[in-house]
Point group: C2
Chain length 132, copies 2
DNA sequence: ACACCTTTTTAGAATCATTATAAAGTAAAT
DNA sequence: ATTTACTTTATAATGATTCTAAAAAGGTGT
C-alpha cells in the first residue's frame, strides 16, 4: 500500500508485480547493489508467486527511468543497479567481484575544471578498484 | 618491426596478426577509445588481409592483460577499450554516446579517505556524464 | 456491475556481444 | 628436422538482454 502513491505519481500503474518488486527493492534497512539475476533470485525466494523475467527487466528499467534506481558504470557482463540513489561512489573489489558504497564524504570534493561546449554535467562518479 | 620486442618482452609471440593490430592501435598520433567492433572495422579498412574476430578478441584481451590497453568502466552493451593507458578520466556524452578524455590535471586530486581492510587501491577512475 | 481503452505481463523467440572448441597453422626450442 | 607450445581460425555455444504478440489487468466513465 505504501508504494501505490509513489507509482501513481510517476505515471506507473501500481500492479501487483510492481508493488512486490518495490517491497523487495525498497523495504530494506540497507540499500544494496544487484544484477537482474540477483533480483530474480531474491524475488523467487521472498515471494510466493513468480514474476516473469521480462517483467523484472521492464520494471527495473521503468524504475531507473523514474530515478528510483541507478545503474552503476562498471565492466561486467551483467548490468549492476543500485537502490542507493544518493550521489555517491563505489569501491569495486576485483577479487571478490563485489561493490561497496563509498560515500561522498569519504571522497574529497571533485572539481572538474574542463568544460565541454554546450554540454552540462549530469553526474560525477568515482570507481575505486581494489585488489588484495 | 618496432613492436616485435615489445611483444617478446611480454611473452607474446610476435605473430603477423598481433603486429598488424599493434600498428592499428598504437601507430597513431592520438590515443583513442574503441569497441571490438570499431577495431574490427578499422582493421578491415586499414589492412589488406583479414583477421578473424576471435583473434581480435584474443589479442585485445592479451594486450589488456599486459597493460597495453585499458578497459573503460561504462554502461554499454559493448566493452570499451582505451589506447591511452595513462591515469586519466572520462567524460561520457550521453546524447552522442561518445567518450572524451579528461586528463588528471583537469580533475582536482582525489583523496579516498576510507580504507577497506586488507585491500589496496588499484585505480581511481572518474566518469563524468554529460547531457545537452 | 459493465463496457471500453490503455497499460502491463508473460512465454517464448530473437538478438548480439562474447567466449568456448577443436583442428590447422606457425613460432620457438631442441 | 623434429618436437613442442602457442596461435589463429571457423564455427558453435553461451548468456544477458530485448523483442513480439497475445492474454491479463488497471483505470475511467456509465
Ligand atoms: Mn552492461
Ligand atoms: Mn560491458
Ligand atoms: Zn552504491
Ligand atoms: Zn581515455
Amino acid at each position: 500500500m505504501k508504494y501505490i502513491e509513489k507509482l501513481r505519481n510517476s505515471g506507473l500503474r501500481p500492479t501487483k508485480q510492481r508493488l512486490q518488486i518495490c517491497e523487495v527493492l525498497f523495504d530494506t534497512k540497507q540499500t544494496f547493489h544487484f544484477t537482474i539475476n540477483d533480483l530474480a533470485k531474491k524475488i523467487k525466494d521472498q515471494l510466493d508467486n513468480r514474476i516473469s523475467l521480462a517483467t523484472i527487466y521492464n520494471t527495473v528499467h521503468a524504475f531507473e527511468k523514474k530515478g528510483y534506481l541507478k545503474q552503476i558504470p562498471i565492466n561486467s557482463n551483467q548490468t549492476y543497479f543500485d537502490t542507493n540513489i544518493s550521489d555517491h561512489h563505489h569501491f569495486y573489489d576485483l577479487n571478490e567481484e563485489k561493490l561497496i558504497d563509498l560515500e561522498n564524504s569519504d571522497v574529497g570534493p571533485i572539481n572538474i575544471k574542463r568544460k565541454i561546449n554546450g554540454k552540462k554535467i549530469k553526474s560525477v562518479e568515482v570507481l575505486v578498484k581494489l585488489e588484495d
